[in-house]
């Protein structure tokens, strides 16, 4: 019932199909990602947005197969195109050689916290050299040259010196650049950036986003950008996936999402962005209620308790499926479900 919605000339480099990642702590089951599907087209940027707790980070970690216990993938497929063939990452052993080659080799990850993403007792260079040598059979010296080149390519001044410093010696912006350099050091085709700018100040944020964009143009990289910042999405992404409580509620081209949002949740999200055109002192609209606790997920459409268009008897009974509503745009809401 959930089908591919994105139509495009190019074949997707990665497609996630009905992904389910659940956590099993002692207290019960948490369905962090519950049937998410999306496609990633080569050389584009896909934005995954949602409030914190919607499962976007877990989705990213599921792709890399680094979901930590007590979580695990319980269903779905993660199909990665590799030299013409297709690998289902969900079926691989997370510890296997193959999966480890993909991690860092084919798919790089950039984290929210550049400070704590580096080991406090190893130099930055040590970690990058390690990554390079893990994926390419080169000498330490050669790996070091490559690491310096990677540093240079992300715009770190004096890379030969910086490479031998510890993360705590670098400034916040430099640290995030170093982080990106590390993720890119093995030339991955896909870069997953999980809230890459959240911990940075606004000026640095803009620089990092610029860097990502220019890298994409130069290297032809595909990016998954995970963020709760709709402004960043508008600036960066071609395609947008909106998640709520582990489910994709709406997806489509950025233009369509921003100008013609269908799902009440997406609409509410967009309304809650402060606008420069709004009346001064006008109260910013917020979404009523708060995200339900993951243990007591509402029945039916997970958004129904907060939804302004709640239809009793429909929305609290069954879960809506994704319905195509426009060119590449799909929404999971009974308002548009004509079946």
């Amino acid at each position: 019932m959930i089908n591919t919605v994105t139509e495009s000339s190019a074949a997707p480099i990665l497609s996630v199909r009905d992904l389910k990642t659940y956590f099993f702590p002692d207290e019960g089951t948490v369905k962090a990602v519950d049937g998410a599907s999306f496609d990633l087209l080569p050389r584009t940027t896909l934005g995954i947005v949602g409030e914190s707790g919607c499962g976007k980070s877990v989705a990213a970690r599921s792709i890399l197969r680094i979901v930590e216990r007590p979580g695990r993938i319980v269903g779905g497929a993660i199909l990665l195109q590799q030299n013409g063939s297709q690998v289902d990452l969900a079926q691989l052993d997370p510890q296997s050689q193959e999966m480890r080659q993909i991690r860092g080799g084919d798919i790089g990850l950039v984290f929210q916290e550049p400070m704590t993403s580096f080991s406090p007792v190893h130099t930055v260079g040590n970690q990058i050299v390690e990554t390079i040598r893990l994926h390419h059979p080169v000498s330490t010296q050669e790996a070091r040259e490559r690491a310096i080149a990677a540093f240079r390519s992300v715009g770190i001044p004096k890379p030969e010196r910086r490479i031998d410093e510890f993360a705590f010696e670098l400034s916040g912006g430099l640290r995030q650049r170093a982080m990106i350099a590390m993720a890119l050091s093995c030339g991955p085709r896909i870069l997953i950036a999980d809230e890459p700018t959240t911990a940075l100040d606004v000026t640095t944020q803009a620089q990092i986003l610029d860097l990502l964009r220019s890298l994409q143009e130069r290297e032809g990289m595909t990016i998954i950008l995970i963020t709760h910042n709709l402004g960043v999405v508008a600036e960066m992404c071609e395609t947008v996936v909106v998640m709520y409580l582990g489910r994709v509620v709406e997806e489509g081209p950025a233009d369509a999402i921003f100008h013609n949002a269908k799902h009440p949740y997406t609409q509410a999200l967009l309304r809650s962005i402060p606008s420069i055109h709004s009346t001064a002192r006008a109260e910013l609209p917020t979404i009523a209620g708060s995200i339900p606790h993951p243990y007591n997920r509402p029945a039916g459409c997970p958004f129904h308790p907060r939804c302004p268009d709640f239809m009793p008897g429909t929305c609290d009974k069954a879960e809506p499926g994704l319905t195509v509503v426009g060119d590449g745009q799909a929404v999971s809401c009974f308002l548009y479900d004509r079946t």
Partner: protein, 385 residues
């Protein structure tokens, strides 16, 4: 919803760290101490340990009642008797009794050897009369939890055997428990006073005073303590009374624990001083004393309680060690260490292994205090994590 389904601090992942609204409300109106109690209750081992500690202190209070023979009544004839078994049933009837002992002289070694005589049944009674004592030092009493009828307890009942002087180990263990646990408490109180005072000054005023106190603590922590305490304890005059020695030893061992407590108090003061609520109180014109006693102390009291609980085992071990060496409490005082001193040489131990029995309560109490302290420490900061 009767119980909050989620531990307040349980974070599975940042993605799922949200509370159900009902529990959330219950939690948000609870007082600090209620929150701590809820959290402490979850720590099963700590709860169990608290019960055990409580039981041990019951022994402290009712040692006279639980003992059945005079702990000092010695009799060479009964030297090193093995533990006595109570037979609960007599021909299918509930009638607890012990067998009387008949002494024979071994013709080869000329030692008296005692063997239980199944013919001589001595009934064991509850709430039996025995030696006299005073409840809480006031009310005269001669009832004991158990005792024997028809003979004196000193001569017939040896639940845990006897020591070299023929004194009943069970009764001595009751009194030893009393002494050792009281010393633990008194010692920790002294440490607490010292620790809170010095740690408080250090944390509150900072500056040179803080530096000096911190260095003193660091120095004390880096010196091997036992040799030093041994030196101090050995210097106590021989002609001191049991009571004097008792207090001197308590003071000596209290000198061990204060550094850790001072460290905790100082740390708390330092971190709390920066909190907004302290700033708010200052801006409202609260005096320093008021800030300390109505704002700061209540918010770290729980930490102090936890640290204090964790300091008690060290006190008990110190007393036991010193007395074991013969440098702590000296007979006729009875403590766990004094009891264990008899097990010091391997020959005695090989012939009469029951002399090691006092090590069991020592271990249990130390474990119980540790678990209890761990539970308290985890519960001490209900808003944390």
């Amino acid at each position: 919803m009767t119980e909050p389904t989620v531990r307040p601090g349980a974070v599975v992942d940042e993605e799922v760290a949200l509370l159900p609204s009902v529990a959330e409300e219950r939690i948000s109106v609870a007082t600090q101490w209620q929150l701590m109690w809820w959290r402490f209750k979850k720590h099963r081992l700590a709860m169990l340990s608290t019960v055990i500690v409580f039981l041990f202190y019951l022994v402290v209070v009712f040692a006279d009642f639980l003992a059945y023979s005079d702990p000092l009544a010695s009799e060479a004839q009964r030297s090193l008797l093995p533990p006595h078994r109570i037979h609960w049933f007599d021909e299918g009837r509930f009638a607890p009794h012990v067998y009387g002992l008949t002494g024979k002289r071994d013709p080869a070694t000329f030692k008296r050897v005692y063997t239980p005589d199944p013919e001589k049944k001595i009934p064991v009674r509850f709430f039996a009369r025995g030696f006299e004592y005073r409840v809480f030092g006031l009310i005269p009493m001669d009832r004991h939890l158990i005792g024997v009828e028809g003979a004196t307890a000193e001569e017939t009942l040896f639940l845990l055997g006897t020591d070299e002087q023929g004194r009943d180990l069970w009764s001595r263990l009751m009194y030893g428990t009393q002494t050792s646990l009281i010393i633990g408490l008194v010692g920790v109180s002294l440490s607490l006073i010292l620790g809170v005072f010095l740690g408080g000054i250090s944390g509150l005023y900072g500056g040179v005073l803080d530096t000096i106190i911190q260095r003193v603590i660091e120095i004390l922590r880096s010196i091997p303590t036992i040799p030093l305490w041994m030196g101090l304890a050995a210097a106590l005059p021989n002609d001191w009374t049991v009571i004097q020695i008792y207090f001197a030893i308590t003071i000596i061992i209290s000198l061990i624990g204060w550094t850790e407590l001072a460290r905790v108090v100082r740390g708390r003061f330092l971190s709390l001083r920066q909190e907004d609520f302290v700033m708010a109180a200052e801006l409202c014109g609260c005096g320093q004393m008021r800030i300390i006693f109505t704002h700061l102390v209540p918010s770290f009291l729980s930490h102090i309680i936890a640290a204090t609980t964790l300091a008690i085992p060290a006190m008990i071990i110190s007393e036991t060690s010193l007395s074991f060496l013969g440098l702590g409490l000296r007979p006729p005082a009875i403590s766990w260490g004094v009891l264990l001193q008899q097990a010091q040489n391997i020959q005695a131990l090989a012939i009469s292994p029951w002399l090691l029995i006092p090590s069991i309560p020592v271990t249990i109490v130390i474990l119980a205090f540790n678990f209890m302290g761990d539970g308290l420490r985890d519960a001490a900061d209900p808003y944390g994590q």
